[in-house]
Symmetry: C2
Subunit: 197 residues, 2 copies
Amino acid sequence: MTNRPYHHGDLRVALLARAEETLREKGASALSLRELAREVGVSPAAPSRHFKSKQALLDALALTGFERLAEAIATSQEGADEAFADRLDAAARAYVGFAVANAALLDLMFSVKHSPQASEALGATAHRWSDQLLELIGEGQRRGEVRGGPLERIALPVVAALHGYAGLTVSGVLPPEAAEHGLDDLIAVILRGSAPQ
Amino acid sequence: MTNRPYHHGDLRVALLARAEETLREKGASALSLRELAREVGVSPAAPSRHFKSKQALLDALALTGFERLAEAIATSQEGADEAFADRLDAAARAYVGFAVANAALLDLMFSVKHSPQASEALGATAHRWSDQLLELIGEGQRRGEVRGGPLERIALPVVAALHGYAGLTVSGVLPPEAAEHGLDDLIAVILRGSAPQ
DNA sequence: ACCTCAATGTATGCACTGATCACAATGTAG
DNA sequence: CTACATTGTGATCAGTGCATACATTGAGGT
């Protein structure tokens, strides 16, 4: 007999934790609910109590991803200087760092397919993340280090550039050794392009 | 009895064509080799003669995607003016247009998981695509409309920005109505950031 | 014209998956 | 202490990717 109690006690978080590990090691497509249940030590049907479908599990993973990304960017700002260039540099490095450290997760977060209701919660969390960058750029505007204009229109190109760079590194298009000073060049272009007229 | 001949004659391209349709309609995860075989009218094992695994089929799809993307960008350059700003604008619109028209395909093309050997062929085709942009920017340098320096280092930020913008629109982070003039802003930032000193 | 033989499609079976259902065990509120 | 909601179990179902052995076809060499 198993000495494990009938109720696991923390199945949901255990599943998420294990899932993220397999996600990192073997990719999203190699993620099986049944194997997950096996590894955690519960019956194959047990996960359905916490995630009504596999997609729901993936959505939950993506959501935690956004939360941790937001956290990473937030902490990157703590040690940074007040100048916009420094803050942008710190945020960019945090973003790309998160991307390479969690490639499969990032893929999931910005995957096309999300259940319509999950898109709601996801959209909210994703906005919390983009708000960080908006705030960062708004502050730059206030300091006179970023050109004026509607915040969203100023910020969008910045976000797009960072997002694209992260995507290129993650998908392997960018040779890993080029990634480092490549980021420097990207940040330089962003700064010049967003500088006050 | 079926009047269909024993040999399909064009199974490989038929499979690819049907696969892309399902990809567009129901996403990559809803793509089943067996269903594909059913729709095309062959036995479930037939596809394995042309694609040794499902991933191989996906890789082939991604490859055609890169080819068509390259083609779209190429034709966008034909009608464009010679000024760098115009050419970049045309290429950017072609890229983003392709992205929104083939969201799931783009996801596939830049997906993290590719069989190592497929990465080889894919990498070659992807490079053919990036070479287009390199050429575009190199021409801009020659015309004195883009700052000097190592071509790759100048081009990378441009590619990253375009790629990121396409990714944002495709993944739905960007509201569709914002996509249009959003591109204008992005291009403007790129141009300013890449202008000669 | 014949005859190999590689290419292509078929039939069958295996291990596995996600999902659903009725049921069992457990905690909890009244 | 007892009703009840929560959580885990066991069994089952349709569907999948893949491998293996076999059937059909067409093309090239003699």
